[in-house]
């Protein structure tokens, strides 16, 4: 049914370097309609959303607004065309008030001056929409820095609404809202539909999608693979659309039987940290334990807490003995190594040499007056083992390719002979060849009895490497998957929250 507005995205593609974020995505939405955009991790949902709102420029494909081709160079341009978005990563400025944030860049003016009173009143009217489901703290003059995540999310929604959009994109907008607030938001969305707004609802939560959306568009590996009206489909059908066919490839041969009979090498009990809300886990010697789930469910935070890089409460036991890890140095002493995901920022000193980077955590073992000759020999050995392709150990790390740089990060920890390896999405942005070598190395380490806790945003990797996978959602472990039931569909179902809660 054609409405007053219609947006049509056709055959959009976007690649970042060698990584294809979006291959061939299409989406149509028109007035009075709520379309759910679905897909597993890395399926390209947020890239598609960002292209529509002008935050990302596509490599190819067309975007039609009311039948005419448009090209947005910035979010501002898209907003002028009537497209507003609520992102999960918020766009609020903490030191400004709610009113200032909501009306930023479209303040009510008279003769060049901002009409504060009007801005305040308009903000109060917008806040009325959420009356009864937010506390009194949320008022026009409140500073955003003093608000809870849920309240900030509401301010973000109102900010998008304040532009009077004809097309609204809600990207995981319910992530930090509580039940009442979600219910209120959905009432509002129904109202917007009546008024002729077109809504694109990006979410992983099946239950919400069935409550609010009319139609679902499913992306898989950057392609639109299916579409369904929600009154005539089921969760199972949607999930099967989200999942690749065939059997996942195993990267490592696992010997039969449980890996470790003895007591776990590492265990955590009711671990809490920012983003982690009570996680218990056990990691056996020589086990590769995966952390799965959608992105941003507390997995990196969990790894950081286990490395002593985030303050935590709860207990961490190493070989049955309680350990207090209040600093990475302590974790390192206990034989724990952490390979961070954002290697440019956290893992490497880009302008320093490969040698220095490899040796950084280990210098202590080379005497007060550093025995550089011995260090160089060890560095050469590890570089050889890892197959780091480089000119010389003295070249800066910035000369290496992504895969090789990641090997340096891994190598610098392996030099310390760790017992427990924490990996935070280690193959993100790494080419296929280097991935293979990394997998092989994890297999070797596993044989040597090193325990690995691996978070990956790539489900295939979890399926191909892990003995067990813990699926996380909202900072908790929701499901544990072991060999027979460790399948694509089980992983996706547990991630999006259908099926049994664990």
């Amino acid at each position: 049914m054609p409405g007053e507005v219609s947006l049509s995205a056709r055959n959009l593609a976007k690649r970042y370097g060698g990584v294809v974020a979006l291959a061939d995505a299409s989406l149509e939405v028109s007035s009075g309609e709520v379309v759910a955009l679905m897909g597993a991790n890395g399926s390209g949902k947020s890239t598609l959303g960002k292209i529509i709102t002008g935050a990302v420029v596509p490599d190819s494909g067309t975007l039609l607004l009311g039948g005419e081709e448009v090209r947005f160079s910035s979010p501002h341009a898209a907003r002028k065309a009537g497209i507003a978005a609520v992102y999960q990563e918020l766009s609020l400025i903490p030191d400004m008030t709610v009113a200032e944030n909501i009306w930023l860049a479209h303040e009510p003016l008279s003769r060049g001056l901002v009409r504060r009173r009007e801005r305040r009143e308009r903000t109060a009217r917008l806040l009325e929409l959420f009356r009864g489901v937010v506390g009194p703290r949320l008022e026009p003059g409140a500073l955003v820095s003093g608000l809870s995540p849920g309240e900030r999310q509401i301010v973000e929604i109102l900010k998008a609404l304040s532009a009077g959009p004809r097309i609204m994109i809600l990207d995981e907008a319910t992530a930090s809202l509580d039940g009442e607030q979600v219910a209120r938001l959905f009432e509002l969305v129904l109202g917007w539909k009546e008024e002729g707004m077109a809504v694109i609802f990006v979410s992983h939560r099946m239950e919400e999608i069935f409550r609010i959306a009319d139609r679902a568009v499913v992306l898989r590996s950057g392609r639109t693979v299916g579409e369904a009206r929600l009154e005539s489909t089921t969760e199972e059908e949607l999930i099967s659309l989200m999942i690749e066919g065939g059997i996942a490839e195993r990267h490592i041969e696992h010997p039969a039987g449980p890996p470790g009979e003895e007591r776990p090498l590492l265990s955590a009990e009711e671990l809490r940290a920012p983003g982690v809300h009570g996680v218990s886990l056990e990691l056996a010697r020589g086990e590769i334990l995966g952390l799965g789930g959608l992105q941003g469910q507390g997995q990196p935070e969990l790894l950081r807490a286990l490395f002593g890089a985030l303050p935590y409460s709860g207990r961490i036991l190493l070989g049955g003995r309680e350990a207090r890890l209040s600093h990475p140095r302590q974790a390192m002493r206990e034989g724990i190594a952490f390979v961070p995901g954002d290697r440019g920022r956290e893992g490497l000193l880009q302008v320093r040499s490969i040698l220095e980077n490899l040796m950084l955590p280990s210098w202590r073992r080379y005497g007060r007056l550093l025995n550089v000759k011995r260090a160089r020999r060890d560095a050469e050995r590890i570089a050889g083992e890892l197959g780091i392709v480089m000119g010389s150990l003295d070249d800066p790390v910035s000369t290496l390719s992504g895969g090789n740089a990641q090997k340096v990060v891994l190598g610098k920890w392996l030099l310390r002979g760790p017992q427990i390896l924490l990996l935070d999405d280690p193959t993100k942005g790494v080419d296929v060849g280097a991935k293979g070598e990394l997998y092989a190395m994890l297999g070797d380490l596993r044989k040597k009895g090193v325990s690995v806790l691996l978070y990956s945003s790539d489900d295939e990797e979890l399926l191909g490497l892990c003995d067990r996978v813990l699926v996380m959602r909202d900072g908790r472990v929701r499901k544990e998957l072991k060999s027979p039931e460790l399948t694509r569909s089980a992983l996706v179902s547990a991630s999006v929250g259908s099926g049994g809660e664990g």
Partner: protein
């Protein structure tokens, strides 16, 4: 439902109080004033006080400009050099016994020089994405060099009429008071424009501001231009207070301008603060100086204290974090 919280008072005052802490400035102000009073009981005699504070008029204008840049997320170390540049531009354009149009031309030259210098800084920072500290440190030498080129050694003079106008007390209050009032009014006006909102947004979180549609680069450029203009006005005030041109006169003021901003509760990382606090900061510095000179302690004490204040202000957030047991 959520627990009801005690609602704080509404409105502008509260907005200001939430954003900026004047507590530090006020405590220092009271302490310094009390010390001055003890040392020099006639200190609060309007004539003495006015004379004392008049010396701080150039700093007041300079620090107000610095505040604008700092709120926008930058810093300008070249404002002292810009002050000198405008000072020598004005004096050298005046020449001997100038007429009224010559005087106007001289002032215009000085102010234009300041704005252009600010624009150079702003363009480097906003469009070429240079680091503000390094950029403006480097350009401070460029502007100093230009000032030395215009007037290699101190000299020149200013007509007596201008000097006495500057020293006059309209309505019985010294010029520095009127300057402060004017600066505050202009600042209030700026705060009420869309530009004012943009400035805080840019300094608060550049990326968020950008995705919200704030023209971040022009906003930054303008903040440096405003600071350049204020430095040039400070140069004019300096010209009238010293009645000569001196190509190196502004340099020593740059640290003080940053100290005044810091004392006034403006955060050096941007997005928070205001000019009123800075004015309090300037007064505090003036009172300090008067204590130092009255007690006859060596003047490097003042420099030392100024430096310490900046260090503490920079370390402050980190120290607070440490005390709360958080790591960065």
């Amino acid at each position: 439902m959520r627990a009801a919280q005690a609602l704080p008072p509404r409105g502008r005052l509260r907005e200001v109080a939430l954003r900026q802490s004047y507590a530090f400035a006020l405590v220092l102000l009271l302490a310094a004033a009390a010390a001055n009073y003890v040392l020099q009981p006639n200190f609060f005699n309007p004539a003495v006080l006015g004379g004392n504070l008049m010396t701080y008029l150039p700093l007041l204008l300079l620090a107000a400009g610095q505040t604008v840049v700092v709120i926008g997320g930058g810093i300008d170390l070249s404002l002292g050099a810009i002050l000198s540049l405008s000072n020598v531009l004005i004096v050298s354009t005046l020449g001997e016994s100038p007429d009224a149009s010559r005087i106007l031309l001289a002032v215009a030259a000085g102010l234009l020089g300041g704005v252009l210098a600010g624009a150079v800084n702003g363009a480097c920072v906003a469009y070429l994405r240079f680091q503000p500290i390094v950029t403006t440190f480097a350009t401070s030498f460029v502007f100093s060099g230009l000032a030395l080129y215009v007037m290699p050694s101190p000299g020149g003079s200013v007509p007596q009429g201008l000097l006495s106008a500057y020293q006059s007390d309209p309505l019985g209050l010294p010029m520095v008071f009127w300057a402060a009032v004017l600066v505050l009014l202009l600042w209030g006006l700026l705060r009420s424009t869309r530009y004012g909102v943009y400035l805080y947004a840019t300094g608060g979180d550049q990326l968020s501001a950008f995705v919200s549609g704030v023209p971040v680069s022009p906003v930054k450029l303008a903040s440096y231009c405003i600071a350049g203009l204020m430095a040039a006005l400070a140069g004019l005030a300096m010209t009238l207070s010293t009645s000569t041109g001196d190509p190196l006169i502004g340099e020593p003021l740059i640290l003080s301008s940053i100290v005044a901003v810091v004392i006034g509760g403006t955060r050096l990382s941007g997005g928070q603060g205001g000019v009123f606090g800075t004015i309090l900061g300037v007064i505090v510095l003036g009172l300090f100086q008067s204590i130092v000179s009255f007690m006859g302690v060596p003047s490097w004490w003042q420099t030392l204290i100024n430096g310490l204040i900046v260090v503490v202000a920079l370390a402050g957030p980190g120290l607070l974090g440490l005390l709360r047991g958080r790591r960065p």
